[in-house]
C-alpha cells in the first residue's frame, strides 16, 4: 500500500448474512482525493461505506484503511451519516452531538482543553455555534446536517465520508452544507461522498465511482450519459 493511499480494497465482497451486496470490489482512495459515489438505490453504496468503516466484515478480499484493518483505521475517518435516520426526540443539543466526535481521539478519559478547542473550531467553521444550545429536535435538516459535519470534523480526521449529506434538504440548506464541504475540500481534505446530485459534482469530484453490486470508475462522458437518462444511476 502506497504511503498516500488511505483506503485500499482488493477483491472485496461483503453484505449482510448470506446476502452478498458487493462483489469483487477493487478500489483505492488517495490522499486529497474527492471521490463521489453514485449508483442506484440498493446498489451497495452504503454497504461500501460500512465495509470501509469496519461496520461489516468482508466475506472475501482484503481491505486496508489508513494502513491497517478498518476497525482501527476508521477512527481517523470523520463519518457523516444521513441525518434523516435519527431520533429527533433524543435529549441532546447540537453541541452535545459535536462533542461526541471527540471520542475517537480522547478514548474513555475526559477530554482535554485542546480537544475541546478542536470541537469549538469545528462548530465555528460549520456555523453550529449559532444554535449550539438548541435541542436536535428543534433543528432544521440543514442545521442537523451541519452538526453532524462538525461532529466529524471535531476529531480532526484524515478523511471525511459523507452519506448523502444534501439529501432531503431544501436549496438554501443544501447551499449551506455545500459551502462547508467546499471549504473543507479547498483545505485538501480527502473526501468520499455518496450523492444522487450528479449535476453538482461533475466538475468538482476528482473521481466518480458508480456502485451497483460492484464498483466501476466513471468518466465525465459517462456522467453526461447519466444526465441524458443513460441509466447509469
Amino acid at each position: 500500500m502506497e504511503e498516500n493511499t488511505l483506503v485500499s480494497m482488493s477483491g472485496v465482497s461483503s453484505g449482510y448474512g448470506r446476502v452478498q451486496v458487493l462483489r469483487d470490489v477493487n478500489l483505492e482512495l488517495h490522499k486529497g482525493d474527492f471521490m463521489a459515489v453514485v449508483g442506484p438505490n440498493g446498489g451497495g453504496k452504503t454497504t461500501l461505506f460500512r465495509t470501509i468503516l469496519g461496520l461489516i466484515e468482508p466475506s472475501a478480499g482484503t481491505i486496508e484503511v489508513m494502513g491497517g484493518p478498518p476497525s482501527k483505521g476508521c477512527r481517523k475517518i470523520g463519518y457523516v451519516p444521513q441525518s434523516g435516520t435519527f431520533d429527533r426526540k433524543y435529549p441532546a443539543s447540537a453541541e452535545d452531538v459535536v462533542m461526541m466526535g471527540l471520542r475517537p481521539r480522547q478514548g474513555i478519559l475526559p477530554s482535554g482543553r485542546d480537544l475541546r478547542e478542536s470541537a469549538e473550531r469545528a462548530m465555528e467553521r460549520t456555523g453550529v455555534t449559532e444554535f449550539r444550545d438548541q435541542r436536535i429536535g428543534d433543528l432544521s435538516g440543514g442545521q442537523l446536517q451541519r452538526a453532524f459535519i462538525a461532529r466529524a470534523l471535531a476529531s480532526e480526521p484524515e478523511m471525511l465520508m459523507l452519506d448523502e449529506p444534501t439529501a432531503s434538504l431544501d436549496p438554501e440548506m443544501r447551499a449551506g452544507v455545500c459551502s462547508i464541504l467546499s471549504e473543507v475540500l479547498s483545505e485538501g481534505m480527502t473526501v468520499m461522498m455518496i450523492t444522487h446530485d450528479l449535476e453538482g459534482i461533475e466538475d468538482r469530484a476528482d473521481r466518480i465511482i458508480r456502485v451497483n453490486r460492484t464498483v466501476r470508475e466513471v468518466s465525465r462522458g459517462d456522467i453526461h450519459a447519466m444526465e441524458c437518462g443513460g441509466g447509469l444511476l
Binding site: 468503516l53 461496520l55 463519518y79 451519516p81 441532546a92 471520542r103 438554501e172 447551499a175 467546499s182
Partner: protein, 308 residues
C-alpha cells in the same frame, strides 16, 4: 394529618421513604436510557422475569436449604440472566427482539409460580403473590435498605464511568463503533444496569408496576430538558416528588403505597403531556416559521453550488 406525622416516626415507614428515594434516583438515571433507547419492552421483560427469581429464591430457601438465596438475590440472578439473554439475542439478530422479550416475560412468571408451588408457604414472607407483584414497601427492613443503598451506589458509579460512551451508543450505535467503543459489551452493561434497577424498583412498587417508575418520570424529564444530564436530573426530581406525594396520599387514603405512587405518576404524566402540547401550540403560533440559519457563502471553488 397528625396521624401521618406520627407514622413517620415508625422505622418501617422511614425505610419506605428512604427505599423510595433510592429507587427514584435510579429510575431518573437508568430510566432515561430506557426511554431514549426505546427499551421499555426490554424493561418489562426483565422485570417480569425477576418473578421467577423470587420464586426460585423461596424454593432454594425452603427445599434446598440455601439460606443466602434471598428473594432479592434470586431476582438479581434471574434479572441479570434475562438481561444477558436479551442483549445477546439483540446482537445476534437471529430471533426478533420482541419474541425473546415475550418468551422470557412469560417463562419468568411461569417459573415463579411453579417454584412457589414446591415451596413451604410459611417461608414466603409476603405470604401472597400480590405483595411480590404489586409491592409491599412495609417489608423493607434495614438490612434490605442497606443492600439497596450499596446497589444504588454501584449502579450510579458504573453509569457515571460510562456516561459519555452510553450517550454516544444510544444516539448513534454505528458512530460509537467507529469511535472505538465496544458496543457489544456496553450494550450488555446497559442491559445489566436495567436489570439491577428493576430489582431495586420492584422492592418499592412491585414487579408489575416497575415500568411506570422506570419510564414515566424519565419521559417527563425528556419533555422539558435539552440534554441527557438534564433529563436524568429532571426525571429523578419528578420521580422523587411524585413518589413522595403518592406515599403521603397512600398513608392518608390507606391504600397500597406502590399502586398509589404509580397512579400519581400516571396522572402527572397526563398533565405533563397536555402542558407540553399547549406550550408547543403557543410556540408555533408565536414563531415566524423560519428556522434556517444563513451561512456566509465562502465557496469560491464551486461557486455554482451556491445556487443549488
Amino acid at each position: 394529618m397528625t396521624d401521618i406525622i406520627d407514622m413517620l416516626e415508625i422505622p418501617l415507614i422511614q425505610n419506605m421513604f428512604l427505599a423510595t428515594a433510592l429507587a427514584c434516583v435510579l429510575c431518573g438515571v437508568i430510566g432515561t436510557y430506557v426511554v431514549v433507547n426505546r427499551m421499555v419492552a426490554v424493561t418489562g421483560g426483565i422485570a417480569h422475569t425477576t418473578f421467577g427469581g423470587v420464586g426460585f429464591a423461596y424454593f432454594a430457601m425452603s427445599v434446598l436449604a440455601v439460606s443466602w438465596m434471598t428473594p432479592m438475590a434470586g431476582a438479581l440472578l434471574f434479572g441479570i440472566a434475562a438481561a444477558v439473554i436479551m442483549a445477546v439475542c439483540r446482537r445476534n439478530g437471529e430471533l426478533r427482539e420482541d419474541t425473546v422479550i415475550g418468551a422470557l416475560w412469560a417463562a419468568g412468571m411461569a417459573a415463579g409460580v411453579v417454584f412457589m408451588c414446591y415451596t413451604d408457604r410459611s417461608v414466603i414472607v409476603p405470604s401472597s403473590y400480590e405483595s411480590i407483584l404489586f409491592g409491599n414497601m412495609l417489608l423493607i427492613d434495614s438490612g434490605k435498605l442497606a443492600a439497596m443503598a450499596v446497589i444504588t451506589a454501584a449502579v450510579l458509579a458504573v453509569t457515571a464511568f460510562f456516561f459519555r460512551d452510553l450517550r454516544i451508543m444510544t444516539f448513534d450505535a454505528n458512530f460509537a463503533r467507529i469511535s472505538g467503543i465496544n458496543v457489544t459489551v456496553l450494550d450488555l452493561i446497559l442491559h445489566i444496569l436495567i436489570a439491577v434497577t428493576c430489582v431495586m424498583v420492584a422492592n418499592v412498587v412491585g414487579i408489575v408496576m416497575i415500568m411506570a417508575l422506570m419510564t414515566i418520570p424519565a419521559a417527563m424529564g425528556n419533555m422539558f430538558s435539552h440534554g441527557m444530564k438534564g433529563t436524568m436530573a429532571l426525571g429523578t426530581v419528578y420521580a422523587l416528588f411524585l413518589s413522595v406525594a403518592g406515599l403521603f396520599l397512600s398513608l392518608y387514603m390507606d391504600t397500597p403505597p406502590g399502586a398509589t405512587v404509580v397512579l400519581v405518576i400516571a396522572a402527572a404524566f397526563i398533565v405533563a403531556v397536555l402542558a407540553k402540547r399547549a406550550a408547543s401550540r403557543a410556540g408555533k403560533n408565536g414563531s415566524r416559521g423560519v428556522r434556517g440559519t444563513r451561512l456566509p457563502y465562502r465557496n469560491q471553488r464551486f461557486p455554482e453550488m451556491q445556487y443549488l
